[in-house]
């Protein structure tokens, strides 16, 4: 395995020397996400060969695995010990790896209740843009020695370093779980979800969809048997079959639900959960108690970004799925000038020659 790392260090150093750029790829399940690699990104560096769980001790609540390890393998190992990745990372079409999951930093339906990918990162090993192996964080629950580089990597889309190994905090699987469905308009669903989130209810996922007449709100309750049962009684609605419920949340996580099939262009809007229904064209699916809104619409960048600016409080839009040309024009909400300057400075510290996934996040770095 160390051969693999040595070879990668060498490849990165060589790319620097020759002025090449490298495209880092894991399971290729998220090739569709982010800005496309530039033409100049001649070579792909696949992490798949560097695979396997390095350390897993259930009573330590931590798991360490190499970047190329399939998420499915990690989840199976955890499930056999009654544990899970609480941020429920999407697998999309399948084959997703740990390195890719952290580099993309995406989280699934449990995000609003349990936290995001970055919240569970305890440590990481990387190779920086000079071809140097570095390690940050560790396997323990708390660590404030130095800047928190490992969390910074979550969502950096491989632009700061080639992630080679990650340590994560893991959690026990809930003892009981069931899903409910209620009829509710979008506005009513937003009110309900925010109201419930302010009370100690065991809601671990929520999704509202336009279901013809009015809309449907699906909730997942999980926790102790007693708490789930009490919440079921209080919230009412129709209880889904166990299998149907499992498939529903898995398809939502991986965007294989019918909502995601239709139009090619999909916007991801992240905003204050209490924001009322948006006055934007297209169809909507809401997750995370109102804080995440998917919009299927052919809206242009300008309109979407302006709409987010108007909402404020950190609202931002991502062009999640679209044609290559549209993604090349920009995927993420543009950064203000001081923030953009800071991003470039940081990129320069990790990858001075710009060999690692340049332009995958923003065209400027």
């Amino acid at each position: 395995m160390s051969d693999c790392l040595g070879e990668w260090c060498e490849r990165i150093r060589e790319a620097v020397a020759r002025g090449h750029q490298l495209a880092i790829v894991g399971g290729a399940s998220k090739d569709f996400y982010g800005r496309p690699w530039s033409e100049a990104c001649s070579a792909r560096l696949s992490t798949l060969a560097h695979s396997g769980i390095v350390d897993y001790e259930p009573s330590e609540l931590s798991l360490t695995a190499r970047a190329g390890t399939p998420l499915a393998e990690i989840e199976a190992a955890l499930a056999s010990q009654g544990q899970m990745l609480a941020f429920e990372p999407p697998h999309f079409a399948g084959g997703a790896t740990l390195g890719g999951a952290i580099a993309a930093g995406l989280s699934g339906p449990r995000r609003a209740a349990a936290g995001a990918a970055r919240d569970f990162v305890l440590g990481a090993k990387i190779i920086d843009g000079r071809g140097q192996p570095l390690a940050f964080g560790g396997r323990v629950m708390k660590n404030v020695a130095g800047y928190d580089v490992s969390r910074l990597l979550a969502g950096s889309l491989g632009t700061l370093g080639l992630i080679t190994e990650v340590s994560l905090k893991v959690l026990p699987l809930p003892a009981a779980s069931l899903s409910l469905r209620l009829a509710a308009s979008q506005g009513r669903a937003l009110e309900l979800m925010n109201d419930w989130a302010g009370r100690a209810l065991p809601i671990t996922a929520s999704a509202w969809e336009d279901a013809g007449e009015g809309g449907a709100l699906t909730l997942r309750l999980a926790g102790s048997r007693a708490a789930v049962r009490a919440a079921q009684r209080e919230l009412g609605g129709e209880t889904l079959e166990l299998e149907q419920a499992g498939a529903y949340w898995r398809h939502l996580r991986d965007q294989r639900a019918p909502f995601f099939d239709a139009a090619p262009t999909l916007w991801r809007l992240s905003l204050d959960s209490t924001t009322p229904p948006l006055d934007l064209p297209g169809t909507t699916l809401i997750e995370w108690g109102g804080a995440l809104r998917w919009l299927r619409a052919d809206a242009d960048h300008k309109t979407m970004h302006a709409a987010m600016m108007a909402i404020g409080k950190g609202a931002h839009a991502t062009l999640f799925c679209a044609s290559l040309e549209a993604r090349a024009a920009g995927v993420f909400q543009p950064l203000g000038s001081p923030l953009l300057a800071l991003h470039r400075e940081l990129k320069r510290r990790f990858d001075p020659a710009g060999v690692l996934n340049p332009g995958r996040m923003y065209a400027e770095f």
Binding site: N143, L173, L346, F350
Partner: protein, 486 residues
């Protein structure tokens, strides 16, 4: 990065009269402390063994003043140390020679509580507990609860990524802050995050939280509020042997339980605490564990029974459950008063903060007892056991020649052992000036170089809290000569 060192060396001694005049033009007289007796309270933070009288203390009252101060200091290349309540335990707020202290004490306003969105927007000088008090009418609270929460500020919590006794279940500061407004040393304002659950670009919140006041000055924070559980109860278990208690911790987690709090105290700590706050601790026990459950009454009932069984199976000689809220608070009051309680029985103490895998807790406690004999100094142990975060309190008398040095050497041994056991030198108190040296044990030269790079991306002239956290290459090579560097 030798540059930064040279720059530091060439700094003129003292803040010049011209600089004071320029600062006086920005700040009203009452916001500028120049007399020695006014500056004295700022000469150290909670790490009282290190002191440096600042040349000047600035207490701006408005954001515009604060930014103007930063711009001027940047222009004059004057070092600045931000300061909250000064309760930090690693010297993060210790002034630097020929620099100014920038106190955030006047920024005490809770700007907004949004009960529906479950967020609070606050100024940096707001006390940790004040946020929970303001949120209480809505059935909400701010989850991270450092034992210093009556005094410490949210700005200081953000700088240190502070934790508390409920962090295993509810997370650290980094898990509970969703937006920041920050000024860089150059006086530029950055808006990061907000009320959304993520932000475009790099996760700068992760980088800023825990950066010990070295990357920017927090002007405003948006924090997450958590609904108050309907009920909370705490178990207190006594153990005749440390090893049993260590195993009980792993067994609780192994049983799929994440307690709302899981804390350990040894006999030296309980004795000091009992004399101080009469918490009702078992003084016969070698170690006690406090394990809390919260949630609905049914949930708490089930979880308390499950934990009681694990504790008894692990060899607890006695297990008590808090009968009511008053008793629950009494059990916790002892734990939260542990530091001041130890402070009463010794002239001086230093608090270590290593974090280790839970499975090594018993081995670590045994080694600490050996070190205690070797260095001839008493030590009381308080642990965030659920997180594997140790707080050995090493007692000494600074007026006795050599004792401070012995205490420091004792602490260093614990930190190096933490790293050897696969842990870290600091779980929540930060590196500050106290553990700069031990950073060389935990990080390689190239890793430290990247830290210097990150610092320079925010603060190219190394003016904000200089000399903290990241050792110079020279210090590390000296450290390396004495042994344990990576």
């Amino acid at each position: 990065m030798m540059d930064a060192e040279r720059k530091a060396d060439s700094r003129q001694a003292g803040v010049s009269a011209a600089a004071i005049a320029a600062l006086s033009a920005i700040l009203p007289r009452r916001c500028l402390l120049a007399a020695a007796e006014e500056r004295r309270p700022y000469e150290c933070d909670g790490l009282t063994a290190f002191r440096q009288l600042p040349d000047l203390v600035l207490l701006p009252e408005t954001e515009a003043q604060l930014i103007a101060v930063l711009k001027l200091c940047h222009q004059l290349k004057l070092p600045v140390v931000a300061r909250g309540a000064g309760t930090g335990l690693s010297g993060g707020a210790t002034p630097v020679a020929a620099g100014v202290v920038l106190s955030l004490a006047k920024f005490m306003t809770i700007l907004e509580i949004d009960p529906l969105a479950r967020t609070a927007r606050v100024q940096p000088g707001v006390r940790n507990l004040a946020i929970s008090e303001a949120a209480a009418p809505y059935g909400l609270y701010y989850a991270p609860d450092p034992s210093s929460q009556i005094a410490c500020t949210i700005g200081g919590n953000i700088a240190e990524n502070a934790g508390g006794v409920h962090c295993l279940k509810y997370g650290l500061t980094v898990h509970n802050v969703i937006g920041l407004r920050v000024a860089t040393m150059a006086g530029e304002v950055l808006e990061i995050g907000g009320a959304a659950l993520d932000a475009p670009g790099y996760d700068l919140l992760a980088l800023l939280i825990g950066s010990e006041g070295m990357l920017g000055v927090v002007l405003e924070a948006t924090v997450k509020l958590t609904p108050k559980p309907l009920l909370a109860r705490v178990l207190m278990a006594s153990f005749a042997e440390v090893a049993q208690a260590g195993r009980a911790v792993a067994a609780i987690i192994g049983a799929g339980i994440i307690p709302a709090g899981l804390e350990m105290m040894d006999r030296a700590a309980t004795a000091a605490v009992e004399a101080f706050v009469h918490a009702g601790y078992d003084l016969e026990a070698e170690t006690i564990l406090l394990a809390e459950s919260d949630g609905t009454p049914e949930e708490v009932g089930d979880e308390i029974e499950a934990m009681r069984k694990v504790l008894e199976d692990s060899g607890a000689s006695e297990v008590r459950v808090s009968r009511d809220e008053a008793e629950r608070l009494k059990f916790w009051a002892g734990r939260k008063a542990a530091f001041p309680a130890v402070g009463r029985i010794t002239p001086d103490y230093i608090c270590m903060d290593g974090t280790i895998p839970r499975k090594h807790i018993a081995a670590m406690l045994t080694r600490i007892q050996e070190f205690s004999r070797e260095f001839g100094l008493r030590c009381a142990n308080v642990f965030h056991a659920g997180d594997g975060n140790l707080h050995p309190l090493i007692m000494f008398d600074a007026s006795q020649p050599g004792e401070l040095e012995r205490a420091t050497a004792f602490g260093t041994r614990i930190l190096e052992l933490s790293v050897e056991m696969g842990g870290t030198i600091t779980g929540e108190h930060g590196v500050g000036i106290e553990k700069v040296q031990q950073m060389c044990a935990q990080f390689s030269a190239t890793e430290l170089e990247l830290f210097r790079g990150i610092k320079s991306a925010f603060d190219p002239f190394a003016l904000l809290n200089p000399g903290k956290v990241v050792p110079t290459p020279r210090r590390c090579s000296e450290y390396r000569l004495t042994g344990s560097a990576k």
